[in-house]
């Protein structure tokens, strides 16, 4: 392919509408429709309770209220539990909630009643007049309580254990028993959440004239929502269209579906015969969407004098909240991606996925990898400290080498496929990182800072990220008679710049002007076969599908043009939308080729006049050949055998205040390898955003539940999402481009990368500055201060041996 735009910093086409305030997010839709109704939800104030009575008699007296639903109003499939989206043989006790709570509630925020009114203010007034009687039950909050199992979240789930899963390659416990050195670590990560700036939202309109339901949802999967809405409301799939408009960030939370409101809004719209909108507010997002990250890990490792891993045995406990709609994806990813760029000779991992009376857990950017990276990298640092070796040396000893790809780990990944890395060059990445952060010069810097009474530390962390998981994505490319190219792919966009990156691929593959390409994502009317946007898969999956579909359209264009120009296809080239015979003046516009591709009976403009069956083709043959079809189009799907594995390494230098324990970032460096870059500007933007989210997760953000299961910090006042003042002032980025052999463009995913190593890299740097182990993240200044007191005996000593 000619690579004119691929790999260049093309300005985003999305920006024009966003900058003018002309983006169309779900809450912006139908605002000028006077018939639009608004929904509000009554949510449980208790973490664990039986519902003994719901009295809605006062609600319908409120002027402007049209309807209220509770569980008793739901019938057929709507009265069944929500789907368990990703079943797994080891998820022996999967449970999902109902669209509206039936008999019991299991977390603060669980939906109980759904009110529809003329505006949101009135709907909320009405919600406050619903009276619910509860029998309060003691809740299970946190992993320790879940494991203790003194109380159960679900009466029929013994030990609060939803799943127990074990994988092993070799014999890890025997290898550890025989190893010259062993260490044991206990490592914890707390809960956090995606918190996109736009919460969830759904609008639905039933059209009685055409008997069709249109649903707009702020989702990461429009085809998934469509399937659920049709199944739950008993509609033929063909009657339901789901459109994902502009989405104000997702980061994982919007892949879960259907949310109760994604079903209740269409139900209300059909019942009332008027369009209905639900827009989640910020408190609702904290207590009724999804969280992630909370895990407790026990690690046993055996290694030799060089720090080579001989056996690694990891047991961990995953808090999945009150229900398991998204299955075991997060802990499975932790258990497999924990290995990072290393090759432990014997590895055993076992986890239990536990119920608690808290908000459900579904993937959040990184999806279990930040925890896995934290476990592995803390282990590497512990080995280095034990042996008195440089931390980069121990890592280098354990790296999979460039000549070992494809590298088979002998484990099963989250997509049910073998965990096999396709490509990478970890030693080269590490050399780049050391140069970028100044690893070898750091001891001198530390000494200079110490002379000023300042305390600094450096840390690094490496990760490998399985991206572009299947099963597939598709694309449809249509060249119109104007020469404009309309492309549809089914997965959705949440700000990644897909309309730009995908148009770059089309422009190059097809040979058309970038400005002539228009990309549509997430609209089931235009591409009904799709999976969704998650697991850093959009560029790999839809990018590849769009490339393949463009090739098909190109192939057809060349065939028709060759006939028209009386030339051989091999002699043709396409540039800026014009097909020409190399070395001659003979040429034809792609728009004209599109005219020729579609023999017409009726002429409606100049172009179509040229395409009527009286002016096109051989009168001795059918106007459309038997093995052909009208139109200049290409459609194809990309379905890889397995994921492609991107990788990266981060390093950070922090300063910790000797008095206040405040943690300041002095330098942040990233080496990233996601294969070929489609648009380096967009990739770097993804890294910037990931790093900021990682800083939040490492130093500021956590979900603070009290023992009653109340989320105490469910607002932006109390959940400390970083402002510009909390993030590094600069992020030094270097790329390595190790192409993937698994897809035609050699690309790997980049969306989640920036956030994966954050907990690990900050823990390492703070530990290096302070001289005592950091085993739990996030860490606040007050927690660091408490650790200093705890390690008071060691701090004087540490100050003198910071060279290790």
């Amino acid at each position: 392919m000619t690579t004119k735009l691929f790999g260049t910093k093309v300005a985003r086409v999305e920006d024009q509408r966003f900058l003018r305030g002309q983006g169309r997010y779900v809450d912006d839709l139908l605002t000028d429709d006077p018939r639009l109704l608004h929904a509000a939800v009554l949510r449980s104030p208790h973490a664990h309770a039986r519902i003994t009575d719901i009295d809605v008699s006062d609600v319908l007296d409120v002027e402007g209220v049209l309807a209220v639903w509770t569980y008793d109003d739901l019938v057929d499939a709507m009265a069944e539990p929500l789907p368990l989206l990703i079943p797994h043989p080891t998820l022996t006790h999967g449970r999902t909630q109902y669209a509206l709570a039936k008999d019991e509630v299991n977390y603060v925020g669980e939906a109980i009643a759904f009110v529809v009114a003329v505006d949101r203010y009135v709907a909320e007034d009405a919600v406050s007049r619903i009276r619910v009687d509860y029998d309060y039950l003691e809740p299970v909050v946190g992993i320790a309580a879940a494991r203790a199992a003194d109380r159960l979240v679900h009466d029929d789930v013994p030990g609060n254990i939803g799943a127990r899963m074990e994988q092993e390659t070799g014999d890890a416990r025997a290898a550890i028993a025989d190893a010259p050195h062993t260490l044991t670590l206990e490592l914890d990560i707390e809960r956090s959440a995606c918190t996109p700036m736009e919460g969830r939202g759904t609008v639905a309109r039933w059209d009685p004239d055409t008997s069709r339901l249109t649903v707009w949802s702020s989702t990461q999967t429009s085809t998934g929502v469509r399937g659920c809405v049709a199944a739950k409301l008993g509609l033929d799939l063909a009657k339901v269209d789901v459109i994902t408009p502009d989405v104000g960030g997702g980061f994982g939370v919007k892949i879960n579906h259907p949310w109760p409101e994604e079903l209740l809004v269409p139900l209300a719209a059909m019942t009332l015969g008027r369009p209905v909108k639900f827009t989640e507010d910020r408190r609702e997002h904290f207590i009724s969407s999804a969280h992630e990250r909370a895990q407790v890990h026990h690690v046993e490792v055996g290694f030799d004098d060089d720090g080579r891993l001989l056996g690694l045995n990891v047991e961990f406990w995953h808090d999945h909240g009150a229900y398991t709609p998204y299955g075991l994806i997060v802990p499975i990813i932790t258990s497999t991606q924990l290995l990072g760029p290393y090759k432990p000779l014997n590895y055993r991992v076992v986890f239990e996925s536990l119920y608690t009376n808290t908000v459900i857990v579904t993937p959040y950017r990184g999806a279990g990898r930040p925890q896995g990276c934290f476990v592995m990298e803390r282990t590497m640092d512990a080995i280095a400290a034990y042996l008195g070796k440089d931390r980069t040396e121990v890592r280098g000893t354990n790296f999979i080498q460039p000549d070992e790809f494809p590298y088979e780990h002998g484990l099963v990944f989250q997509d049910g496929r073998e965990l096999t890395y396709d490509s990478g060059d970890y030693p080269a990445s590490l050399e780049k990182l050391k140069a970028l952060v100044g690893w070898d010069e750091f001891e001198q810097f530390r000494a200079e800072m110490a002379a000023q009474g300042r305390r600094v530390g450096i840390g690094l962390a490496c990760y490998v990220e399985g991206t572009g998981v299947g099963p597939y994505e598709g694309a449809h490319v249509h060249i119109e008679t104007s020469g404009k190219v309309k492309v549809a792919t089914g997965l959705t966009s949440q700000g990644q710049g897909h309309q730009t990156a995908f148009a770059q691929i089309v422009a190059d593959t097809l040979g058309v002007r970038f400005e002539d390409v228009e990309i549509t994502t997430g609209d089931t009317r235009k591409m009904p076969y799709a999976v969704g946007t998650f697991a850093s898969r959009a560029a790999v999956m839809s990018g590849s599908a769009i490339h393949l579909a463009s090739l098909r359209a190109r192939e057809k264009a060349l065939r028709i043009a060759a006939e028209a120009l009386e030339a051989s296809e091999e002699d043709l080239e396409i540039n800026d939308g014009v097909v020409s015979v190399r070395g001659t003046d003979a040429s034809i516009d792609l728009g004209t080729v599109a005219v020729l591709s579609n023999p017409l009976r009726y002429a409606f403009d100049e172009a179509s006049k040229a395409a009527t069956q009286f002016s096109v083709g051989d009168p001795g043959k059918p106007p459309v050949a038997e093995d052909d079809e009208p139109g200049l189009e290409g459609k194809d799907f990309y379905s890889p055998e397995r994921s492609t594995f991107a990788n990266g390494m981060h390093a950070v230098i922090v300063e910790t205040d000797p008095d206040t324990a405040e943690i300041t970032i002095l330098k942040y460096a990233v080496v990233h390898d996601c294969g070929h870059l489609i648009n380096p500007m967009i990739v770097e933007g993804q890294i910037h955003g990931g790093v900021a989210q990682g800083v939040g997760g490492a130093l500021y953000e956590r979900m603070v539940y009290d023992e009653a299961g109340q989320l105490l910090n469910a607002s932006f006042m109390d959940f400390l999402m970083p402002y510009v003042t909390e993030v590094p002032t600069t992020i030094d980025i270097d790329h390595l481009e190790t192409p993937s052999p698994l897809n035609p463009l050699g690309i790997k995913g980049a969306g989640e990368a920036g956030v994966i190593p954050s907990a690990a890299v900050f823990a390492a740097a703070i530990e290096d500055a302070e001289g005592f182990p950091i085993t739990a993240m996030p860490i606040s200044p007050s927690e660091l201060f408490a650790l200093r007191l705890e390690h008071a005996d060691h701090t004087t000593e540490a100050a003198t041996i910071t060279g290790i």
Binding site: G21, Q22, G23, G248, D281, G497, G685, V724
Partner: protein, 171 residues
């Protein structure tokens, strides 16, 4: 009992909007749902995120913390009003808007209107900010996508573009 509504005349982006709203209606909701100006986004409704920031008599104001009825005597500018007239229906991007495009200062675009209005006012007060001052200017707005790196660059670039226009180097 039906809720009492008030006739409110809002001056937004140089146009007058006559709306009937209850006293409790937030300015953010009135702009979005009554005036149809959906460019102003609501991210938290408790004044922390800054996405709903508009200019009220030229000063940045969180429209979720102001009631529509209290905005009657003010001139309000939303993101839709930042674009400059150039004879085309779309208008030309203002220096701040153009800088965001140049520097990849936005991703999902949801927080962007609040940044654009805040920086527009900020650069009027301080047309030539240092990098630290640029950071200070946006330190009250949340963004979950960009990590702020390119927003800081956008502030500095916007100052540059404005200077180029004022010196006649750029039209």
């Amino acid at each position: 009992m039906s809720e009492q509504v008030h006739d409110v005349r809002l001056h937004v982006n140089g146009s007058v909007h006559e709306v009937q709203v209850p006293a409790r209606r937030l300015l953010s909701d009135a702009l979005r749902h009554d005036c149809g100006l959906t460019g102003t986004h609501v991210g938290c409704e408790h004044g922390v995120c800054g996405a709903c920031t508009v200019l009220v008599d030229g000063r940045p104001m969180r429209s979720c913390l102001m009631l529509a009825v209290s905005a009657v005597d003010s001139e309000i500018t939303t993101v839709e009003g930042l674009t400059e007239a150039d004879g085309t229906p779309q208008g030309r991007l203002s220096p701040v808007q153009q800088a965001f495009s140049d520097c990849h200062g936005l991703q999902c675009g949801f927080c962007t209107p609040g940044f654009l209005t805040t920086i527009t006012a900020g650069l009027r007060d301080n047309p030539d900010p240092s990098e630290d001052e640029a950071r200070e200017m946006i330190a009250g707005n949340l963004c979950r996508c960009t990590g702020y790196q390119n927003i800081v660059k956008s502030v500095l670039r916007a100052a540059e573009i404005t200077a180029e226009i004022e010196s006649g180097e750029r039209t």
